[in-house]
């Protein structure tokens, strides 16, 4: 996984609530057996018209937001399906940080596994950042995971954010979870030995 330390770039405002993963990437894109190439499907029904041409009204089709690396959006972002294709599509488009008042659990988890930083901030703070992203000609923000701060184009005081310390550590180092877990193999084996004794029926699957 690509580490996430400091990200500087355009932030796009997406003032919608309850954006579900079907909207982030429709099901027809789920037929792939790869993780890459999903950027074209990102927000497909919002970004493209019936004939396949771009919808000029959608934020990611307008300059400077075409170059967005940060998305600022409404509450409960990423609700619905567990599809990891949602963060894969964001990543493929170039978005590596999403800022919202709240996220759905599975999407939130999936982001961290892919080097995307989801940041939860109070509604008023999100509103203020969204306004800045909307009203600045070149809204370049810097998200610094090391110091847990967001630096704003206006030069207003940086915004501090909280993040789970372990997830922060993994993102900063670009760590592979599986490798880490396998270092604790002895503990997994000890658990299995005990469970075999205490709940043997879980180890005698018929059929």
């Amino acid at each position: 996984m690509q580490p996430f330390r400091k990200l500087t770039g355009i932030a796009a405002p997406l003032p919608l609530v309850n954006v579900d993963t079907d909207q982030i990437i429709p099901a027809k894109w789920l037929k792939t057996i790869r993780r890459t190439g999903l950027g074209r499907g990102l927000f497909e029904s919002l970004r493209f018209r019936e004939d396949g041409s771009e919808n000029p009204d959608f934020v990611l089709n307008r300059e400077p937001y075409r170059r967005a690396v940060i998305l600022i959006t409404g509450e409960n972002f990423g609700c619905g399906s567990s599809r990891e294709h949602a963060p894969w599509a964001l990543l493929d488009f170039g978005i590596r940080c999403v800022i919202a008042p709240s996220f759905a659990d599975i999407f939130h988890n999936n982001c961290f596994k892919n080097g995307i930083l989801p940041i939860v901030l109070p509604q008023e703070t999100v509103d203020a950042l969204m306004e800045e992203a909307e009203q600045t000609a070149e809204p370049v923000f810097t998200v610094d995971l090391e110091t847990q701060t967001i630096h704003r184009p206006s030069g207003n005081a940086p915004v501090r954010f909280e993040v789970d310390p372990f997830k922060r550590h993994c993102l900063l180092a670009g760590l592979d979870d599986i490798g880490l877990t396998l270092q604790r193999l002895a503990k997994i084996e000890a658990f299995e030995t005990r469970q075999r004794l205490e709940q043997p029926w879980l180890w005698q699957r018929a059929g």
């Binding site: 396998l182 193999l185 658990f191 018929a206």
Partner: protein, 471 residues
């Protein structure tokens, strides 16, 4: 660890392999269900790292999202779908995982076959790369959906890194009225707490209404926990749970069964156990419900009207309502029963079990009507075994003779990954779980309802209070 514990606490505590300093737990996973859509990249990751599947015996795979529900003799015509199903087949062979392939009579929706086979057991941890894994919580199992990276993690290590979630108990008091079903209970709950109401929580459903539900009904309730934002829903295992599981192919047998049941009886929450949040719902106030918008929380009684955004004070919510109504092509104030529908979908991991089909068939039989002209009505059983049982009971004839299409099992029009989908602007009464924009096909308009209400809509050609047809 002393003191009264909840059902959730007991399952969680008995699966912690290790705790990190910051509280993140390494949780052991007893059962892993795999399907074709969210697993290819996980197997590819294993291959690249030279890793094997740690517990093939605790893993069960089935293709369901992409499979055709019409004649399967010709395989899967759509190439990308076919490649995905073939990839699952190849991966299961390579890593030694049991697969119920498309021609296996046990094939079906992953959340229907787990319980049906007795793969789902009380007190276990169960995961699947699918958000509706919450379904299995009906058996008193801690079951939740995960992403593909976590699928790979479970395949490789049989564990997951998890923070302990908070707990919520939803007590459903009173008694269900005539024509009101498990689907209406969960839609009512989501309407009450909202689609983010359960975020960060595991919900335990309790109270007399939940206790009185069949296993199928409990599965319907737990299934849509994710639509309330919770990753998992739970119901305490009881005699009904044990009766359902007894004799299932993968359930314990003989002495092992006795040992297991003795353990399962210790699982229900202790008296006085504390929850982080408590909600009470009076079921006697529930009516058959229907959604009007593009979020599962957008529910109204079928006797109600399309709500008016002008009455919503919160600006963001008002904008969301206006957007939803524009997408749905609905005017505020329209009585729900005047809304005409084009399609009816009876199926999905929410409502495609035998009891759901019996209920829908009962509405058809008692009304004596046929599917309204111009309406396309699909019945898609949840599994090959559900289909076979329904046919043995003659339900397929009831449906067919009334003009419904009787299909092969799969996820079908719940998410339109196969050819079963809505055309732009088409309106559907659906027993599935999500009414999101484009969920059942680009531009399609979904109204979530119970199987009884879906059958009623098929027969009249509009959203209909099923109680009128049953009276």
């Amino acid at each position: 660890m002393s003191g009264p514990r909840t059902l959730f606490d007991k399952i969680w505590d008995s699966h912690v392999v290790d705790v990190q300093e910051d509280g993140t737990c390494l949780l052991y996973i007893d059962r892993h269900l795999v399907h074709e859509v969210t697993s290819p990249q996980a197997f590819e990751g294993l291959r690249q790292a030279g890793r094997r599947v740690r517990r093939p015996d605790a893993t069960l795979a089935v293709p369901d999202h992409n499979v055709p529900t019409t004649d399967r003799a010709r395989g899967i015509p759509d190439e990308t779908s076919r490649i995905q199903v073939e990839t699952l087949r190849r991966n299961c062979a390579e890593f030694g995982i049991t697969l119920f392939d498309m021609d296996d009579p046990r094939q079906g929706i992953v959340h229907v076959i787990g319980p049906e086979e007795g793969f789902t057991l009380p007190g276990t941890t169960i995961v699947c790369g699918d958000s509706h894994t919450s379904t299995h919580g009906a058996f008193g199992a801690l079951a939740f959906g995960i992403g593909t990276s976590e699928v790979e993690h479970v395949l490789a290590t049989q564990t997951l890194l998890q923070k302990r979630p908070r707990t919520m108990r939803i007590r459903v008091e009173g008694e269900l009225g005539f024509g009101v079903t498990a689907k209406d209970v969960i839609l009512g709950i989501i309407g009450r707490i909202g689609t983010a109401g359960g975020t960060g929580h595991v919900i335990e459903y309790a109270g007399p209404v939940i206790e009185a539900l069949s296993m199928e009904g409990r599965m319907t309730v737990c299934n849509m926990s994710i639509e309330a934002g919770a990753r998992a829903g739970l119901v305490a295992p009881d005699e009904k749970t044990f009766a359902y599981l007894r004799g299932r192919p993968m359930a314990p047998k003989g002495l092992a069964w006795e040992q297991a049941v003795a353990y399962w009886r210790t699982l229900p929450s202790d008296p006085g156990a504390r929850y982080d949040r408590e909600v009470a719902i009076d079921a006697s106030e529930l009516e058959p419900l229907v959604t009007w918008g593009t979020s599962p929380q957008d529910v109204v009684p079928v006797t109600g009207r399309v709500p008016d955004p002008a009455r919503e004070r919160d600006e963001k919510r008002r904008a969301a309502m206006e957007r939803a109504l524009a997408y749905m092509g609905l005017e505020p104030g329209t009585p729900m029963e005047e809304i005409r529908i084009d399609t009816v979908f009876i199926g999905s991991c929410t409502n495609a079990r035998i009891e759901d089909l019996r209920l829908a068939a009962e509405v058809v039989r008692r009304s004596g009507r046929r599917v309204a002209s111009g309406v396309r009505a699909l019945v898609v059983p949840g599994s090959g075994l559900v289909k076979r049982q329904a046919e043995e009971e003659g339900l397929d004839r009831v449906f067919r003779e009334a003009g419904f299409e009787w299909r092969e099992p799969g996820c079908s029009m719940c998410l339109a990954m196969n050819n079963d989908r809505l055309a732009p602007g088409e309106r559907c009464a659906s027993t599935s779980n999500r009414n999101f924009e484009g969920r059942q096909g680009k531009g399609g308009r979904t109204h979530l309802v119970s199987p009884a209400m879906a059958a009623a809509a098929a027969l009249t050609g509009r959203l209909t209070d099923v109680r009128k047809l049953l009276a």
